[in-house]
């Protein structure tokens, strides 16, 4: 579980709680919910949102919080914000105004830019890079003793960069001290200046040979260099065969929260308002997902797509992994999604005529005015196409990260290290995935549930039987932080009001020629349906959330639906608001090569989602 920001607050009397306000201050929107005790139950009763106010003329995140809470008060018929803009506290059972508890998560502050360093580019520097990427950073440069640059070129490069923090690794514990100290000796005199704030000491995390730590401390503590805030954590490569990214990754998250995010204006006031430590949004989502996966014994993936970042969380076999893709998002980072994915990849999901030049301008306009929302149907189609690519790229990054980190430590042989492509099996196994949860604006606020399901299936490409769900109104972050104070209330609200079961994706893994038989399906019980799907086909069978059915699928010999190639699978499942999608488009997903055929196929699939 992620570590919240330390804070000293009086103990909370759970028994006296009745009105709980929770906000999530995203980089674009501040979302507030009201959780109330109704009889013996806890329910989420109201929600409201307001633009996050980090921009001038407000430049204070708590104004957005006040706006959202004022609106929620109007909806609830209860005042939560006093005339001076502060939160009203309930003084007794008869008090018509106020709340008993206010808690918040925050992800305002934007992306994280880092410089990483190690001794050998393919070994410790690569591990440092994985730790930084896994923590959600953009890696501006990777410094290594063998990076083919002369020392003075390396120092000049470090001087030019304006990172948010630096991660230094190098050497195995008990091994060579000299080389990692040499790296420190090059970074300290270069004195890289932080991106934000002149008075802010540049955070440096040292996660190298523990025997070199005293000398690294001496270098960064030398008054002639000054201006560094050094933290020493466990070596991320304690032995050659062992990679231990956890401590460095956790420290990066802490520093991000304490230094980088704290530059969101008004953050100090937000901390003072909150009755519990402010949690980073991804930390809160991860916590609630772990609780669900542990309770139900599931392998689960949750994605939270925001304005600046996309976070992917997975729990496989009880092992939790989290990645924050810092520059994959739907507003601040939308242009980067298009640049990274390529406009062709975005446009493959669009089945209507659109002018690329015009679209490029729209993307940039969204980037510079991040709080706008799509007004027309055409704008929504394009936005959801971009979302598919952001999700796909974020999931790829997540899988790459999870291949190298099995829980706390990743066991690898030395041989694996030199054959990076072949090394490590990903623990994110799409065939073993039981539950895929969608969260974040573009997924949670899609006008139709089918659109959310379609985005999930197209970008995550689940295999076999996978249950799809969405966070109804984007309250997983709120419930994650609520769980840190009152877990039973959080779990109750999660079941009753948060999770919307969309249905199932039943998808065949394998590749085949379009038009050839892929698999047959038979649904019996509350709903009856059957059919045969050729490669490239999809079928949607409407099975409601309370309806239980028996599903039998029989794949052709080159396809796998969970039991192995050609082997039938029978499952008893409950439906969802969308139903069961039988997907014969193959895995990896096959799209026609010609633009006209592709557009026709995407249009056909879009129509299937509208099947009643």
């Amino acid at each position: 579980m992620s570590a919240p920001v330390p804070s000293s607050k009086p103990a909370i009397d759970i028994a006296k709680l009745r009105y709980i306000l929770a906000t999530d201050c995203g980089s674009t929107t501040t979302k507030a919910i009201l959780v109330e005790r109704v009889g013996d139950s806890w329910r989420q009763t109201q929600r409201a949102e307001a633009p996050t106010t980090v921009e001038e003329p407000f430049a204070n995140v708590t104004i957005g919080v006040s706006n959202a809470l004022t609106e929620i008060g109007e909806l609830a018929g209860r005042r939560f914000i006093a005339d001076d803009g502060t939160i009203i506290r309930r003084r007794g059972d008869a008090d018509p105004d106020g709340c008993d508890l206010y808690i918040s998560t925050s992800s305002a502050g934007g992306g994280l830019q880092m410089v990483v360093a190690g001794v050998v580019a393919q070994m410790t520097a690569a591990s440092a890079k994985r730790a930084a990427l896994g923590a959600g950073a953009i890696v501006m440069d990777t410094i290594a003793s063998n990076d083919k640059r002369k020392p003075h070129e390396r120092i000049q490069r470090i001087r030019e960069l304006r990172p948010d923090m630096v991660l230094i690794s190098g050497g195995t514990d008990g091994g060579n001290v000299q080389q990692v100290v040499q790296i420190a000796e090059q970074i300290a005199p270069a004195k890289p200046r932080p991106r934000f704030g002149g008075e802010y000491e540049l955070p440096v995390i040292y996660a190298g040979n523990k025997d070199a730590a005293p000398q690294v401390r001496a270098i960064f503590g030398d008054p002639k260099y000054g201006g560094f805030d050094l933290a020493v954590v466990d070596n991320l490569r304690p032995t050659l065969e062992q990679e231990n990214l956890g401590p460095a990754r956790d420290k990066i998250h802490d520093v991000f929260l304490e230094h980088v995010m704290a530059h969101a204006p008004g953050y100090d006031r937000l901390i003072a308002w909150s009755d519990a430590p402010i949690m980073p949004t991804p930390g809160a989502v991860g916590d609630i997902l772990q609780r669900i996966a542990a309770r139900d014994g599931l392998n689960a993936v949750c994605v939270d797509i925001g304005g600046a970042t996309t976070d992917v969380f997975s729990v496989f076999g009880g092992t939790f992994n989290r990645t924050v893709s810092a520059n994959l998002g739907m507003s601040y980072s939308i242009s980067n999604v298009c640049a990274e994915a390529g406009m062709d990849n975005v446009l493959r999901w669009v089945h209507i005529d659109m002018d690329e030049r015009e679209l490029r301008n729209r993307v940039k306009n969204k980037m510079i005015r991040p709080t706008t929302i799509p007004q027309s149907a055409e704008a929504l189609v394009f936005e959801q196409a971009v979302a598919r690519e952001a999700l796909r790229l974020a999931y790829v990054q997540h899988k790459e990260f999870a291949t190298t980190l099995k829980g706390v430590q990743q066991q690898r042989t030395v041989g694996d290290l030199f054959a990076q492509q072949a090394s490590g099996q990903t623990i994110v196994d799409d065939m073993r995935l039981d539950l895929l949860v969608a969260s974040g604006g573009v997924l949670s606020h899609a006008p139709r549930m089918e659109q959310t399901a379609a985005m999930l299936v197209d970008s995550f490409e689940p295999r076999g039987f996978t249950q799809l769900a969405k966070d109804s109104i984007f309250m997983m972050p709120h419930l994650g932080v609520l769980a840190s104070v009152h877990a039973p209330a959080a779990m109750e609200v999660f079941e009753r009001d948060c999770l919307v079961r969309l249905g199932w994706s039943v998808a065949a893994a394998g590749e085949g020629k379009w038009g050839r038989k892929c698999f047959t399906y038979r649904v019996s019980g509350a709903v009856s349906a059957s059919g045969e799907l050729a490669c490239g086909d999809v079928a949607l069978v409407r099975v409601g959330p309370e309806q239980e059915v028996e599903v039998v699928v029989e794949p052709a010999k080159e396809f796998d639906l969970g039991a192995g190639p050609g082997k039938p699978v029978a499952r008893r499942v409950k439906g969802g608001t969308v139903g069961i999608l039988f997907d014969a488009r193959g895995r990896p997903l096959m799209l026609p090569e010609s633009a006209a055929d592709r557009r026709a196929a995407v249009a056909r699939w879009a129509k299937i989602w509208e099947t009643r």
Binding site: S27, P51, V54, E55, E56, P57, F58, A59, N67, T70, A108, G109, G110, P151, H152, I155, Q156, V177, Q178, Q179, V181, Q182, E185, Q186, P189, A190, K191, F196, G198, M261, H263, A308, N327, Y332, S335, A339, E340, R357, E358, R360, N361, R362, V363, K364, N365, I368, R369, P370, T372, I373, P374, Q375, S376, A377, A379, L380, H445, A446, P447, R448
Partner: protein
């Protein structure tokens, strides 16, 4: 009913512009409170450490790292010239001594017995901070810099590239809807802040670079052109350090879009006057927008005073700019603020407002898709 707030860009004929002109590191402030300064005047200066040259003494002399301190001919703090011997090996029985010369001039900063590495620091580099605007020093921040205030015209753009620059305003497009093309750029625009109208073309930027124009200001730019100008596809809006020979500020956004009439008229009325322009944009925490600042003089006529809405508040009659398709770039007045959410063409439900456009149309748009035109 809660007030609706929405951020906007400032376009002001008269404002008290305040610039904190700070050194990146501690240094000397060259002005005092009350001084009148010109934009190009240096207000603070410091010297930052020179370039670093690491010298791998141990490996070059083929000796253990621990022996290096005893073999050094210089000590930390000593100044060395390029080519000056700085270390000498002992050789064998006094023979075969090897000398190592300093590869660059500088000061010996450190000698490491752990790595056998010696760090030479080059001569200090001067860093100067200029006043940036014509104005008066109102506060001196000892060792850091100064606050310069000016009674000024202030226009915020939506997006820019390139850093601070100063130059006289030259009007290239006399109408706000006129596209700024290469034909508008003349050789005598060198060092000028060139005012366009609508979109800037890539050819205009190229011509401006060739002519040595200081800055281009216009309504919009095509993303495809920006990519060609920068040489890469901009992923996130954090700019200001581009080295493209000039600064570009767009006031409205990307695409074929005319500059707001008021903005164009205001800047045009100050043609010939020196403007300070900064393209730096940062759309993240601590948002920074590009800007154009013109210091006013006593001879400038006072702008017409109008009723000023509460800052950031959205009310009937407030002038707004629509900032998302299908109405991107249009300007109008708020006509109604319905409290109930409405279903949009996309199928989403959102809080909306009605805007009376200048062409007489009345359109309904999500509240998230407008921005205030601040005065």
């Amino acid at each position: 009913m809660a007030k609706a707030y929405t951020p906007g860009l400032k376009v002001s004929a008269r404002t008290l512009y305040r610039a904190r002109r700070l050194l990146p590191v501690h240094g000397e402030v060259l002005v005092k409170a009350g001084d009148a300064v010109k934009s190009r005047d240096v207000v603070a200066r410091t010297y930052i450490e020179g370039d670093v040259t690491p010298v791998a003494v141990a490996s070059q002399l083929s000796v253990p790292a621990g022996d290096v301190p005893s073999l050094m001919l210089v000590k930390p703090g000593d100044t060395v010239a390029a080519g000056q011997p700085i270390a000498r090996s002992k050789g064998i029985f006094g023979f075969g001594k090897k000398e190592l010369a300093a590869p660059a001039a500088g000061t010996v900063e450190s000698i490491s017995a752990t790595t056998g590495q010696v760090i030479l620091r080059g001569a200090p580099l001067a860093v100067e901070v200029k006043a940036y605007v014509d104005g008066r020093v109102t506060e001196v921040l000892p060792g850091e810099g100064a606050v310069v205030e000016a009674d000024a015209v202030f226009v915020q753009g939506i997006f820019g590239v390139g850093g601070e620059t100063v130059g006289p305003i030259r009007v290239a497009c006399s109408a706000p809807g006129e596209v700024l093309d290469a034909a508008h750029i003349a050789a005598d625009m060198k060092g000028c802040v060139v005012l366009g109208g609508a979109r800037i073309t890539a050819a205009a930027v190229k011509a401006a670079q060739d002519a040595g124009v200081a800055a281009l200001v216009a309504g919009g730019i095509d993303d495809a052109d920006l990519k060609a100008i920068l040489g890469y596809d901009l992923g996130v809006a954090i700019t200001g350090t581009e080295r493209i020979g000039l600064t570009i500020v767009v006031t409205e956004g990307f695409g074929d879009i005319a500059m707001a009439e008021r903005t164009h008229g205001l800047l045009k009325s100050f043609a010939g006057r020196e403007a300070s322009v900064n393209g730096a944009t940062q759309i993240r925490a601590g948002v920074m927008r590009p800007e154009i600042v013109v210091a006013r003089t006593a001879a400038d006529p006072a702008p017409q005073a109008g009723a000023r809405p509460e800052e950031g508040a959205l009310e009937i009659g407030t002038q707004v700019r629509l900032i998302r398709d299908p109405y991107f770039g249009l300007i109008g007045g708020v006509a109604a603020l319905p409290s109930e959410p409405a279903v949009l063409g996309s199928g989403s439900k959102a809080r909306v407002l009605e805007v009376a456009l200048a062409d007489g149309r009345r359109v309904t748009v999500p509240r998230a898709n407008i921005e205030l035109i601040e005065t």
